[in-house]
């Protein structure tokens, strides 16, 4: 299988980047998309060129480290899939594939296809936790949690933090990420004592990081590999009023 890659190359955060064309041969349909990039990188090494920097780790769709724009879509042509789960069978022989980094000013480019998503970490630092020290826990079954509640907390908690929601959004909004994180904890009885502060602090940080506002286009929901629902954003907006009243 032969494809033409057009890949964003940028040496450093400060330098000017550009799309570069690479003709690639010897791919197979069984290869994952990232394995095709591995293959291209091996060719580059043998041609005495610098490899393309791109991110990955687990390569099974759970760590959230991989993620690039492929032909104008976050994580490529399918819904709800990470880049590492995409296979070359999704492309045709002779295709041209355009590969770009996440585009959002809150995710500055580090090199080539690698971006800095530490803004997400800083949002979590502002309350994406339950304040309880190791060693203070009561017996696990002492607090009953109805299955529906636990299941819906789990739906929100499934977020892998890849940033596709931001990349897919025309406003580069982090509302899906932030709302999922808030709702995961706020739904649980253990997260209840801090619910308002968690909401206020995390959304304040989200704004501070320069993410755009949500205009409810649902583009994020389509790309989210963990299928986080935009109803989380609606819930977050409802909490906004509640937090205003109670805090």
């Amino acid at each position: 299988m032969k494809v033409t890659f057009k890949i964003w190359r940028q040496d450093s955060p400060e330098s000017k980047g550009a799309l570069k064309i690479y003709e690639t041969d010897g791919l197979t349909e069984d290869m994952s998309f990232l394995e095709a990039l591995d293959h291209l990188n091996e060719t580059l090494v043998l041609n005495n060129e610098k490899v393309i920097a791109f991110e990955y780790d687990c390569r099974e769709g759970i760590c959230g480290q991989c993620g690039v724009f492929i032909n104008g879509r976050a994580h490529g042509p399918h819904d709800h899939l990470t880049t590492c789960q995409l296979h070359m069978r999704s492309f045709k022989d002779g295709d041209t594939i355009v590969v770009e980094p996440w585009r959002a000013s809150s995710f500055p480019i580090v090199k080539d296809l690698v971006v800095d998503r530490s803004a997400f970490d800083r949002i979590i630092e502002q309350g994406g936790y339950i304040t309880a020290k190791t060693g203070t826990a009561p017996e696990a079954n002492a607090i009953l949690i109805p299955k529906e509640i636990s299941d819906s907390a789990m739906d929100a908690a499934a977020c892998i933090g890849c940033g596709a929601c931001v990349a897919a959004c025309k406003n580069a909004s982090a509302a899906l990420f932030t709302s999922a994180k808030i709702n995961h904890l706020n739904k649980l009885p253990q997260g209840y004592p801090e619910e308002h502060k968690r909401f206020s602090d995390m959304t304040a940080q989200m704004e501070l990081e320069g993410f755009g506002s949500c205009t409810f286009t649902a583009a994020c929901e389509v790309e989210c590999p963990a299928e986080i629902s935009i109803s989380n954003i609606a819930e977050m907006n409802a909490r906004y009023m509640k937090a205003k009243i109670y805090s």
Partner: protein, 636 residues
């Protein structure tokens, strides 16, 4: 050096309590003066960093990923064991201790294994408090399921993403302490060496992966929480970045390496499809609760699975191990699959797989129930293979998975280097020669949250009065220069083969000779082959780019250089152990029925290797069995 495991006095059930009563304490004002480095941000690393910071220590935590939340604990799917006996099915701490000891084929310490079981129940309480949405009944209580090698239901889970949920919890606690300015987090930093001053661990040398800058960090103690090293096989269930470099460098500086060859081969991964493949995706063992494993009775059967009638299917695990059936422990299930595949009954294009079939479970419980239990695993399977496993069986195959081996640690989790600790998968502690499913999340978590924060005081109390050498100490610049020299050396080779090419070659040798089944001739051959690979690597590897920038190819090369050295030690370790135990199956030592044949008289020890200028010296920690006498491990 004589190995002192520091097992506390008293009855088995009192040892940990006795230890805690007698261990040193440090008052909060003094804890602030002590600085601890934690390498790795998975469950053990993040758990330890957060808990140590809560106690008042000053902590720096490192990871090579872009965020602490990516560590490979995230990928564990099935669950975490705890002796809660919520199912009222006869579980207890003692039974869990026994299951784990037996599961490990009597090659771990009784006291460590007992402590693992003892701390399991409080760990579930702890994670529930941190907001882990474990599966629950409609009435609101927690649910359990079974895992391999046990006959009770003691596994807690959060869909098929238990590791992710536990890691999110640990990462959230870490974030809490970062906000409190008690932890400084350094992502995108890789540890390339350990600094010893007067024989004690006093810091690390790290490479900033964004800029390539080599930096020194000083501390009063160093904790390695760097995970497993099964990427030595190249194709494994591990994340691509998982590596053995930090523990290997520690080994070269004097930390003994214990049982390096004990590697778990997981029975239920997706089969390899081509040479270009970079990883083998794991399908959770929990699937074996409801899935039945089989191969066609006829050799080289070309029919589709659904066309093979019931009477022509060989449910070989149920046939060979009737009391555990499809839930036989991993080493046994993997070997049984290999036996069938080698005998010509494998399925799939490359005939390297077996079937995992849900037909019966779907018929009994309905598709909805199966979907609720394993929905995300089925959809993951479909994403990767394009096959709908509700309609036809999955194809699975054994894959390199967990490292039981690791740095030798005593009961306090300290290595043979004073002040250097190893926690989680990177140590050799509780699992013996084979780890039971869902005990990995457990061990890594209790090491970080519960054990280390209680034992590290014992060492640090003595350090309070000592000097606290900073990075201006000449040893730091000396080792920095060594690291820089090592990097330069790799870049200067400028040969004709890529890093991946060497890694493929190494992986093939290791998979062939040092995986599920080993023999003397093969291991001796592997040692020679690895030596050649090593020479070729340093003569002919090609890495482009330079050291003063983000250079992912250089990162790979540095990791592979250490894997090659580690591979040689793994083979050497497997070669010296003239017996079969757990995952270590030496073909020369088996029963007439093809089961592992242990030799307790000569090999009831932990092999612990000392690095000696390119060679290795074997030390033996004799294992004493006071409470349970080693028996033949029977799952029939």
């Amino acid at each position: 050096m004589k190995l002192n495991s520091k097992i506390p006095e008293g009855r088995l059930e009192d040892k940990w309590k006795n230890y805690q009563v007698k261990s040193q304490l440090i008052n909060p004002a003094n804890k602030k003066k002590l600085n601890i480095i934690v390498v790795g941000s998975g469950l053990s690393g993040a758990g330890a960093a957060a808990t140590l910071a809560e106690l008042g220590y000053d902590v720096q935590c490192f990871c090579y990923q872009d965020s602490a939340r990516r560590a490979h604990s995230v990928a564990a799917q099935g669950g975490i064991n705890a002796a809660k006996n919520y199912q009222h099915d006869g579980d207890s701490i003692y039974r869990m201790f026994y299951d784990t000891l037996k599961g490990g084929d009597f090659r771990s310490r009784e006291a460590n294994t007992y402590r693992l079981a003892e701390l399991s129940a409080p760990l579930i309480d702890h994670f529930v408090q941190q907001g882990v949405p474990f599966a629950r009944e409609y009435g609101g209580v927690l649910v359990n399921r079974s895992f391999g090698g046990v006959q009770v239901q003691r596994t807690f889970y959060a869909r098929g993403q238990t590791g992710q949920q536990l890691l999110v919890a640990a990462y959230s606690q870490l974030s809490k302490m970062i906000r409190a300015k008690k932890v400084e987090m350094l992502p995108r930093h890789e540890i390339l060496d350990i600094v010893l001053i007067d024989g004690k661990a006093k810091g690390v040398i790290a490479r900033d992966l964004r800029t390539g800058e080599i930096k020194s960090f000083a501390a009063d103690a160093v904790v390695l929480a760097t995970g497993g090293y099964s990427r030595v096989f190249r194709l494994s269930t591990l994340a691509i970045g998982c590596n053995g470099s930090a523990i290997w460098k520690a080994h070269k500086r004097g930390a003994y390496f214990a049982a390096p060859s004990f590697t778990q081969i997981h029975p239920t991964a997706l089969p390899q499809s081509s040479d270009a493949q970079s990883k083998l995706t794991l399908m959770s063992e929990s699937l074996r609760n409801d899935g039945r494993i089989w191969v066609p009775e006829k050799k080289d059967d070309d029919r589709k699975a659904i066309d093979i009638p019931e009477e022509e299917r060989d449910y070989y695990l149920e046939r060979r191990y009737p009391s555990f059936g499809n839930l036989a422990p991993r080493d046994i299930a993997s070997r049984a699959a290999k036996e069938r595949i080698d005998a010509g009954h494998g399925v799939g294009q490359l005939r390297n797989a077996v079937y995992l079939d849900f037909k019966h479970a779907i018929k009994t419980f309905g598709k909805d129930v199966i979907e609720d239990r394993y929905g995300n695993l089925f959809s993951m399977y479909e994403k990767i293979t394009g096959i709908n496993a509700y309609k036809e069986p999955m194809k699975i195959s054994p894959a390199a998975h967990f490292s039981m081996g690791g740095l030798w640690v005593d009961y306090e989790l300290m290595t043979t280097i004073p002040g250097l600790y190893a926690i989680g998968e990177c140590n050799y502690s509780d699992h013996g020669a084979n780890r039971l499913g869902a005990n990995s999340l457990l061990q890594t978590s209790i090491d970080g949250y519960f054990i280390l924060p209680n034992t590290i005081n014992n060492y640090l109390e003595g350090e309070l009065k000592e000097n606290h050498p900073g990075i201006e100490h000449p040893e730091f610049s000396k080792i920095e220069n060594e690291v820089k020299g090592h990097i330069k050396k790799i870049l200067m080779v400028n040969g004709s083969r890529t890093v991946d090419d060497f890694h493929r070659e190494l992986g093939k040798v290791m998979w062939q000779e040092c995986a599920m089944s080993r023999n003397k001739k093969g291991l001796a051959r592997a040692i020679v082959q690895i030596k050649t690979i090593r020479e070729e690597f340093w003569r002919d590897v090609k890495v482009t780019g330079n050291e003063n920038e983000m250079n992912t190819e250089l990162e790979k090369a540095l990791r592979l250089a250490d894997f090659i050295d580690l591979a040689a030690l793994m083979c050497k370790d497997a070669l010296q152990r003239d017996e079969s135990c757990g995952a270590h199956f030496r073909e020369e030592y088996q029963t007439d029925e093809g089961e592992a044949l242990r030799n307790d008289e000569d090999f009831a020890y932990v092999s612990s290797w000392e690095y000696n200028d390119g060679d290795f010296i074997l030390h033996k920690e004799q294992l004493e069995f006071e409470y349970e006498q080693p028996t033949v491990r029977n799952y029939k």
